[in-house]
């Protein structure tokens, strides 16, 4: 591809339209990538059992601004997450990832569109839908009035899980996440990374069919990140579907069967990381000057696609 992207660097709008054009072109050239997209008209016909764990259809979200007027944070977002699938939501800060997640939890009402969890609309039947949903918010929502183990057990009881099962699961998760020796400690005594681990563990205590994890590995050390990846793999083998939002492209490339790249509230492209790389990056090898005089040669990766589509100035030139 010519170095066209670079000539538009200062103007966001022309670049955006240029990207849209390229994305459209790439979609047409990759019809196979479109087969997993679902026609919204099909939904009514699908039964509970046949419907995927998570289905988001034509989701739009507008916020009222305090000064008056509205701001559309998410526009026409559609995707499914199948059982055992890990679906990545990638995008720069403010692209609408957390808004989509708040709508999936049923906390924010969508301005248009639907969220179905296991075939149940989260707005009309939030209790039923959220019974099979586990959420790890981006911000810290741990209940600081309870100690580490109690935290998990208490959260389980919100799902009407009996105390014995809750205790068993809590001990297993604490062990798995390396928090067993902290079980009786207050939350304040935990470091940021440990709190993050605990919050992810809390999202899994109800053994959800769908886990929504908003930047779960932010602040985790490499070791803890590996542990989380392993835990998620295990849970997926048991059928759990995962919606993952992350800023770590290596993580997305490694974990996600498919990713959606989100920019200014719209999905620019959805596909497997490999297909995205193939479709968007023409070069077989990338040369990058990482330090003055030091040039690395490497294969193109998801980060290159991300930077190219979301239009960061820091992207590698001439992709």
């Amino acid at each position: 591809m010519p170095r066209r992207g670079t000539s538009h660097r200062t103007g966001a709008a022309p670049r955006g339209s240029a990207i849209a054009e390229r994305v459209r072109a790439s979609r047409n050239s990759n019809a196979a990538g479109l087969t997993k997209r679902t026609d919204p008209a099909d939904i009514g016909a699908m039964s509970d059992a046949a419907s995927p764990p998570l289905r988001v259809t034509s989701l739009s979200k507008r916020y009222r601004l305090e000064k008056g007027g509205e701001f559309e944070a998410v526009t026409g977002v559609t995707f499914d997450v199948a059982a055992k699938e890990c679906f990545g939501l990638l995008g720069p800060n403010g692209a609408g990832k957390s808004t989509i997640i708040q709508c999936i939890c049923g906390f924010y009402p969508p301005s248009a569109g639907h969220v179905l969890i296991g075939g149940t609309d989260v707005r009309t039947q939030p209790k039923r839908a959220r019974q099979i949903l586990g959420v790890c918010n981006q911000e810290d929502t741990l209940d600081s009035d309870f100690k580490v183990r109690d935290q998990l057990i208490r959260h389980a009881t919100y799902f009407r899980i009996d105390l014995r099962t809750a205790k068993e699961r809590a001990d297993r998760l604490l062990e798995r996440f390396g928090l067993a020796d902290k079980a009786d400690q207050p939350i304040e005594s935990l470091s940021g990374g440990l709190r993050r681990r605990l919050q992810v563990a809390r999202a899994l205590i109800s053994e959800p069919r769908v886990a929504v994890l908003d930047e779960p590995t932010t602040g985790l050390d490499p070791d803890a990140r590996r542990v989380l990846w392993e835990v998620l793999s295990e849970a997926r083998r048991n059928g759990m579907a995962i919606l993952l939002s992350t800023h770590y492209m290596d993580e997305a490339e490694r974990l996600c069967d498919r990713v959606a790249i989100l920019h200014k509230g719209r999905i620019l492209d959805i596909d497997s990381p490999q297909a995205l790389i193939k479709n968007h990056i023409a070069r077989a090898e990338i040369e990058e000057e990482v330090r003055p005089g030091v040039i690395w040669k490497r294969q193109p990766n998801l980060e290159d696609v991300y930077l190219k589509l979301t239009g960061s100035r820091l992207g590698v030139e001439g992709l």
């Binding site: 049923g106 924010y108 939030p126 959420v135 918010n137 741990l142 209940d143």
Partner: protein, 258 residues
């Protein structure tokens, strides 16, 4: 027996507060009960010895009994408002408990009812403890513990709603000072806790009656001291109750749900 889902959700949230309460019961006992006891001592015994007996609505009442019944309402006001306002703000803003629970099968509506009912429970128990002191000192009839309970409960819910609404409107925790100084303290001083409002000029009495604490005081005194029943206190109480509970829920939803 399996509770309906909504009742189970509300009770689950209420139990969370109860579990926190029992873990630091000494702290709560001190912060909840010391203040009314200090008022009882300072005004009941101290000022009471100077004033002796009052005539309220044509009936003789000892100042000590008068102040004891006033402190019941004052306890409801302070306990309900401060728990709802500061406690509610901390739980909503700093601890994000509402947000954490309302993404489970428990809904935000149930979380807010649980919060309101817990604040109400705490204020009701504190007010009943004051009433119990009044019974032990012989100022109230024992039965009044029971008869005053519904008024304590409803007015606790009213002031918890006022507190939670304040928390919902406050941008930061300091802004709770506005309702505290503009509503709570004026009610505390001018709605008949320390002296019968009929001693005030007529215009001030009318203003006092628009505020909910005057009605609470009136009903509490009817039930504890046998003063004449001022029927208009009932609609005023229910009007404020409905308004503040609805406002607190609406404002919280508006704040949290974008």
């Amino acid at each position: 027996m399996r509770l309906p889902d909504w009742a189970w959700g509300v009770s689950r949230v209420w139990l969370r507060y109860y579990d926190v309460f029992t873990k630091s019961i000494v702290f709560y006992a001190v912060t909840t009960f010391v203040q009314p006891v200090l008022y009882l001592l300072a005004f009941g015994v101290g000022v009471g010895s100077l004033v002796g007996t009052l005539t309220v609505s044509g009936m003789p009442v000892t100042y000590r009994a008068f102040i004891f019944s006033g402190v019941i309402s004052q306890t409801v006001l302070f306990s309900g408002f401060f728990e709802g306002a500061f406690g509610g703000f901390v739980r909503m803003y700093y601890q994000r408990i509402f947000q954490a629970i309302a993404i489970t099968p428990i809904t935000l509506s149930e979380v807010l009812w649980g919060e309101l009912l817990w604040d109400t429970t705490k204020a009701t128990v504190a007010a009943e403890a004051v009433a119990l002191i009044g019974v032990m000192t012989g100022d109230f009839a024992p039965l009044s513990l029971l008869t005053v309970l519904p008024v304590c409960f409803l007015s606790s819910l009213l002031f918890s709603g006022m507190g939670l609404a304040s928390a919902a409107f406050a941008r930061d925790i300091d802004q709770i000072s506005y309702p505290q100084y503009l509503l709570v303290f004026p009610m505390f001083l001018f709605c008949g806790v320390f002296y019968p409002i009929e001693k005030m000029p007529y215009a001030l009495q009318l203003i006092a009656w628009t505020l909910p604490l005057t009605s609470v005081n009136s009903l509490v005194r009817t039930l504890t001291l046998g003063l004449p029943f001022q029927f208009w206190a009932v609609p005023i109480l229910f009007a404020w109750l409905t308004l503040l509970v609805a406002l607190s829920r609406r404002a919280m939803f508006r704040r949290l749900v974008k």
